[in-house]
């Protein structure tokens, strides 16, 4: 276990050093992030014109969802995207061989090799929005609600990671999966809005098929102290299943790996 922590530390410190070379990139990401946030809050505000509510969510509580979305988007940009979109290249160039030969779990290596520090401001800002908007909507935090919030964020992140990893792992067969991740990104954008704002059919799909609800709506409910315990319990089971499936799928995919170079 200690070996894994040490590896992460080494990975991310080298990532930090190499990214210092591209400081302009950092600035661009920061601008793009602020623009995206401004734009989405603006679009969200259009739903509330004339004192309306969005699927029984008030303006402040809907902002909590935006915060959770921003936080997860930051994690995606920092960790998931840089690592998991690389898998395709390892497969195409045959360099996956070297990863598999290393005396460390290959899924672990592929998932944490890089860390893009440009995603960090988004992560922090996302959390700030969550707490600010939760206070605005009159939520009183307790140790319990914070604990449930952290657990539900973890559930959301594990589901998000597993779905991304499943698509990335399928590149063992289909070398081009970039487009599939684009479809995923487009669908995940649905998480910017509370699940109850969608028509019934989509609510069902976004809860059970592609569990967008577990990514943003439920963590937001958790910090507002409204999350039902059985949903949390269900989320724990669902996220474990997603994670176990991603591991089994990776083992299965490796059996079909034919190595491009040798």
């Amino acid at each position: 276990m200690q070996r894994y922590f040490k590896t992460i530390r080494l990975f991310w410190s080298t990532a930090f050093a190499s990214q210092l070379e591209y400081q302009l990139n950092f600035l661009i990401e920061l601008l793009a992030m602020l623009g995206t946030l401004l734009g989405s809050v603006f679009i969200l505000s259009l739903f509330f014109t004339g004192g309306r509510q969005l699927g029984d969510w008030t303006w402040e509580s809907a902002l909590v969802i935006q915060g959770v979305y921003t936080f997860l988007d930051g994690l995606t940009n920092a960790l998931l995207r840089p690592n998991l979109t690389e898998i395709v290249n390892y497969v195409r160039e045959g360099t996956l061989d070297y990863v598999l030969l290393k005396p460390i779990d290959s899924q672990f290596w592929l998932s944490v090799k890089k860390f893009s520090f440009a995603g960090l401001p988004e992560i922090i800002l996302g959390l700030l929005i969550v707490f600010w908007a939760a206070i605005q909507s009159g939520s009183s935090f307790s140790i319990y609600s914070l604990f449930v919030f952290i657990i539900s964020l973890l559930i959301g992140f594990i589901i998000l990671y597993s779905v991304w990893f499943l698509i990335a792992a399928s590149s063992i067969w289909f070398v081009k999966t970039w487009n599939a991740t684009e479809v995923l990104r487009a669908l995940l954008a649905a998480g910017r809005y509370p699940i109850s704002a969608y028509p019934v059919v989509l609510r069902f799909i976004f809860t059970l098929v592609l569990p967008v609800a577990f990514l943003t709506t439920f963590p937001a409910e958790a910090i507002l102290g409204e999350l039902k315990f059985n949903i949390l319990f269900f989320g724990l089971i669902l996220s474990s299943l997603f994670f176990i499936f991603s591991r089994l799928f990776w083992k299965f995919a490796l059996k079909h790996y034919t190595s491009a170079s040798s």
């Binding site: 302009l24 990401e29 623009g35 487009a186 028509p199």
Partner: protein, 265 residues
Amino acid sequence: MRIFGLSIKVIKTLLTTQYAYMLEYRIEIALWALSGVLPFIMFSLWSQNDVGNSFGLNDIGLARYFLSAFLVRQFSVVWVVFSFEEDSLSGRLSPYLLQPLHPLFRYVASHLAEQATRLPFAIAIAITFFILNPSSFWLPSIPQLFLAYLSTHFAFTIAFLLQSLVAALCFWTEKSSALERLIFVPYLFLSGLLVPLSAFPSNVLKVAMLTPFPYLINFPAKILSGMPVDIFNGFLAQILWISILVPSVNILWKLGVKRYTAMGA
């Protein structure tokens, strides 16, 4: 006869080879088409929450608008900066620069060929949409269709030129695709992909109309869906943006080529 200084023969060869190339990637292109589902997600939100009325659109109007926005996006989507960056970093650009053909034309041809490959998927998605929302079915009139077609092509041209401007920055920086985000973000919110621009408060609308973005989705989509729209001024603005962007791309490109260092060669 020559079009943009290219002979018919060159154009034909470019288009047919690129089309053959694109046909190889049909599944990828189908996925690309699917990745444009955002207008449909937004449609379900706007109609479910009855917001349409506040900007003068009933459910049918909303459905038509967002289907049109989806279609316009399908045929105006641009990725030249990503292809160009890859070609530039891997040194593939060098032989292209030696040919008596502006490299950008190759990318134009590949985009047009991709649009042709995309057509059946886009139609399939439109039919699915009509099956799910039968009341929204409509067929635009021939003049409407023609004007929508024309304005979508102009929208594609503007988007292509905007991205080429960023792509030309590849000559200065290795990571110009990161800069593309700075165009994409305002595009996402001001083009009308997420909401018809008539929903904007008037002061935001005024600022938005000063940018090229509303003419990329909102204007062609309004024509196609049969919403009232100022056709003359819309086309005027599109042509104006094209005539500003063409010389800008030209100048930046010429300056850039002088700095070209043939990476990877």
